[in-house]
Amino acid sequence: MIAPTLTTARLTLRMPQMADFPHRRDFYASDRSIWEDGPCDALLAWRYFASEVGQWPLMGFGPFSVDETATGAYLGEVGIYQPVGYPEPELGWFVVPAAEGRGIAAEASRAVMIWARKTFGWDHIDNYVDPGNTRSIALALRLGGKTINAPGADPTDMVIRHDLRALA
């Protein structure tokens, strides 16, 4: 199982490929990754990336790379993640600096939530967010998520739940 291709008004979501890695490497080299176990060197960034991609054959879900359809430009990644230790599948996102503030992560996340509902029939999906990651918290709430009291990936995580029942 690898990622299907999903399309939205502006975006194409697809299976990650090797050419996407420099964006992840640069993200993990920067302070922008402090909420995602970074910063770290390229070797560890590669292991994170390969490990997430490897969830597709193991779990049947994983990361989608997000391209701007009109230009083909790589804008980021939105996906569903559940390595061992995560209580449930998690909805996560990352965008390159040039894609921030344009609603890219929100648009891609809606497509992934619809896909998850159609494919797995899940009633909900959660974000696990560090309480200091105000930008991601704001996006999760803007997408209609509600903060709930449940375990996340780390003991300090905020858990923000999205109701999928109205989708598809």
Binding site: R47, A50, G54, P83
Partner: protein
Amino acid sequence: MTQNLITERLHLVPPSAAHIPAYQAFIASNRAAVRGWSALPHEAWRNFAAILGHQILRGFGPYIAETRDTGRPVGIFGPWWPEGQAEREIKWTVFAAQDEGKGYASEATRAGLAHAFTDLGWTTAVSYIAEDNARSAALALRLGAVQDGTWSTPRGSTVRVFRHPAPGAAA
């Protein structure tokens, strides 16, 4: 598409969820600890997932060798090239002490080398071996590899480079 490889006593198959327990048991053992590998169970799962991700991203990857008679996973063998590693490598890892000394590693690695040179079209291949890993160095020499200097990894350690002979090269 990755094809299974068959040797006299082993099937080499792509890694799958069925191999996770054997891999986790290896990572939890002192056989992995002496190499400085993390023994945390969630790290083992993520590392195993990264092996599957390597296959997807590179278009090739290492195999799990299973015994042909019982299907027991013996170890990980074959082509390996994570980002940040200087050259394409042929790696080998035997999971359990009970499978050392039986020639499994050389049998599986010969199949992995043939796969890399023939199916993948590699023109050269190395194995990176720590200074204190005499057992692996001996296997490299037995396979016909010769030491070709050292590699200083981005993490600051130095490993020996053993270069394997390409098929048809003068011995």
